[in-house]
Symmetry: C3
Subunit: 233 residues, 3 copies
């Protein structure tokens, strides 16, 4: 049985919270929200999945509103987006061919121009996805939830925050429209539940699950895999 | 006092879950969601009302994430919509006068062309509405909730899933805009509470309530009744 | 330690519920919702923040679905908006220069034409904001929540209902876009938590907190203060 989260697990979870927070801040930026809106979107993207998880499991108050380290990490991501928003806009101008030229290209700008920042965000977002899915399923198991609940809760922990982010920004959630994003998370949660059922859940298999979700997601990114879609008329 | 749900009640509840799931899948189809999005919308439409009910009543984890028969029924509705989406589109072409002609008209198509499928969905949706409203109020009563809570929870069980469906699809919830849909549900829940208060709640009166909500809703459909609306300027 | 809410606190809370309900009804009116939609938006705006608060704190069923006085007050606001919607429209015509002239100007119309009604709603809305923020934090403290939870819950109680209102009406929440609205609420909640931590929370300091949030918000209205916003490209 898995008991205490390891140091590595904690580190990965904070990476996930921070990167999810970054995506929330970026969506807020594009929706022209103010400083408060940027922090709210950073916070709900980073912590919303876990908050729904804890509400479904009856674990109140949710860690997303009681663990100050998690909340601070999510809000810090919002602050970073706000602080750097000028350079992020610069970069979009560059991408659109409207090179302005007056401002000297900074490190951040050159990294983005080379596609390195975008790739980095994709990788770290996949880290968040894997860790959240596994941690969500694990928490449900530790609270003696039914197997089905643990699977659903794992998936919700991984993609719920991003869904709230998109709804608040006035958009149909990305995860419902394209890419192979949620399915690896749900599959990873199901694997955790299966391993627990046959008594094989231990730190090694746990990490294999995290790695499997991560690799699946990265393959989906690399090959631009999508879920089947109905043909548009 | 009502204790165990009868077989008929269980059957009607599954019909409700399935048909609500169908409406979720259809809305997802129109919003051009992918296979995952179709299943999520089918699931939240079918089970979302009951999930909010259970969260409000403190009954965690909600049956909508723990009873595999309910979840499987909701997801099956999504699968049916995805499997048949080609024929559903065909049918819309036909309705719009753009008869394509190459494809031989199937049974499904002919049923829809005759308006039979649409009518069937309306009837079964009314079954779901009635059963959900009564079952929601009943669960609140069984958990010793105040009368007001039971009435609100009955209404939320009946219309909450459809509201989440519409918000996720980027639309203002239908139920807030037109038709006489929620009011019969709330009235049915109130009737259940009233019968319980005067000690007259038994299987017979319970079924009378379900029938009353159903008939009221069908009359509203047949006569195209709407709630009063402010005059548009 | 603060124990029972005073009469004044109760009165202010009902004022807050009613005025929040009015804003919900007005948003519903502009979104062309029907009578049911107007009442739902009035109800969720008035009570939604408190419902999320109670769910986060595990205090089920939430008072927003169990205290009939609160629910009746919220719904009454919806009824008032519906009953007066003709005159409200009149007024907008007048503001737009399309003076119709046939209808004799009523008291309501003259008050609005003079900007008195708008100012009154702003003032009473600030009353609701202050009371909800302080009452939210207080309830969290009384349920032995961590300090961080009490601060977040205070803010959510104050602005959560308005956010649900806007999402249901198909809009990006106002509070995320402009004005200095949420920050005074969160600051007031934080002050309550701080006072409690140093043992200085008593009826006098409690009311000073309410007054401080109210005054800050009114100054923000008077000076048209906004949160910092990213420059639009």
């Amino acid at each position: 049985m898995v008991t205490e989260p390891t140091t590595l697990q904690v580190i990965l979870e904070f990476i996930g919270v921070f990167v999810f927070g970054l995506t929330g801040g970026l969506v807020a930026l594009r929706a022209h929200l103010d400083l408060f809106g940027i922090h709210v979107l950073a916070g709900v993207t980073a912590l919303g999945g876990g908050i729904i998880r804890d509400l479904l499991l009856g674990a109140t108050p949710p860690v997303g509103v009681s663990d100050w380290r998690l909340v601070a990490t999510g809000l810090a991501a919002g602050l970073v987006v706000f602080a750097l928003h000028d350079r992020i806009d610069d970069d979009r101008d560059a991408a659109g061919g409207k090179e302005v030229g007056e401002r000297p290209p900074g490190v951040l700008r050159r990294l983005r121009a080379a596609g390195i920042l975008t790739a980095l965000v994709k990788v770290l977002d996949a880290v968040g996805l894997s860790v959240f899915a596994v941690a969500g399923a694990l928490k449900a198991i530790q609270l003696d939830s039914p197997a089905l609940t643990a699977i659903i809760v794992g998936g919700v922990t991984a993609v719920g925050g991003g869904m709230i982010r998109d709804v608040l920004a006035g958009q149909v959630p990305e995860v419902l429209q394209r890419e192979l994003y949620a399915v690896p998370a749900v599959a990873g949660a199901a694997l955790i539940v299966g391993l627990d059922a046959v008594g094989l859940l231990n730190p090694v298999t746990l990490w294999l699950c995290v790695a499997l979700v991560f690799v699946t997601r990265m393959v989906a990114v690399a090959l631009d895999l999508n879920m089947p879609r109905p043909r548009r008329p």
